[in-house]
Symmetry: C2
Subunit: 200 residues, 2 copies
């Protein structure tokens, strides 16, 4: 393959950093972009460079954003007394596409995983506690994934909230066990939200 064209080989290789893209689809993408969609390629290159440089974390909820505070945290029409705790920005998108939830989020950017050395400080528990106090939150909804680590994370956070006297609930109905939130359809997610139970 290396006798082909160095820059094209480099592009095929670079595209493989995308999840789910093997050598064959990287080739297909390369030729499709170069043969038929240079403007799309230029635009992707420019947006990608800007995003990789500028996107950081929301100072209030930790989600990915290029602003100091994400548009959801900055929206005063959202219910400031309810926080839904999720593992990743993709989970926020999933809830927003459902459209039923009007409160705020807190994005852990991970989950507790002692085996990988991921502790409470890595998932922003201190910031969450601080935020819950500052807003006077009346309900914290735990929407971590229904995996062993997600459940342990939910349990740990519920313990912190118990100390603060903040009511905690856990989404329950509809999310299949072992499934990942971001792949659940929005109807199921709306159902799971409505059917949440007090976490004890």
């Amino acid at each position: 393959m290396s006798q082909f064209s160095p820059l094209i080989d480099e592009l095929i290789e670079a595209l493989r950093c995308l999840p789910g893209v093997g050598p064959k689809s990287a080739q297909r993408m390369t030729f499709q972009l170069l043969e038929r969609n240079r403007p799309g390629a230029q635009r992707l290159a420019s947006v990608l460079a800007r995003a990789a440089e500028q996107v950081g974390h929301c100072r209030s909820c930790r989600t990915l954003t290029e602003r100091e505070e994400c548009p959801i945290c900055a929206d005063s029409r959202r219910d400031q007394q309810t926080i839904c705790v999720v593992e990743s920005p993709a989970d926020v998108l999933a809830f927003e596409q459902g459209g039923d939830y009007r409160g705020l989020y807190f994005v852990l950017m991970g989950r507790l995983s002692p085996i990988d050395g991921i502790g409470p400080e890595d998932i922003g528990v201190d910031l969450l506690v601080e935020r819950v106090k500052a807003l006077g939150v009346s309900e914290l909804i735990l929407a971590t994934n229904p995996t062993v680590e997600g459940e342990a994370t939910a349990y740990f956070i519920s313990e912190q909230m118990r100390r603060l006297g903040v009511p905690v609930s856990r989404i329950a109905h509809g999310v299949p066990l072992g499934g990942e939130l971001e792949y659940v359809d929005s109807g199921t997610l709306a159902h799971a939200l409505k059917g949440r139970q007090r976490f004890e």
Copy 2:
């Protein structure tokens, strides 16, 4: 989705220019890159920008390359008397990965398609004729796809070569090696039958 984060929305949208990437996988790619692989994202952005700007066509065979002449055309150890005509640079890669072919290529960058207004000048037939004369080619191998348009293109080129007195061959189409007869489509099977060779 637009209340999320403008730059992130823009990246999700830009990734959809990649073939086979729908909204869900564009999201997954975006979060994976921004959460876990910033160096990969930076590298992809830079290679993509350079490739979209610098990659043009080989002056001898029309394939995609950032050089004036591609490494295959520039390699004097390749057999200069044989040219294999293919539709796209991906076909060149496929032959090169096979490893058996030692001649040159000519890449049409398409196929004749009167319905789409693609005529002989769009697929570089003049350059092919010129090149065949200049090299004193002794065999032209037609490896366009076995589609209606690919066959029509092969036929058109073979007529040009007949006028020049250059011998033309067509790669064999049939049951793939290791393939099972019962899973091969009937068109391929009919073709394989018609193209049968004496067994010795």
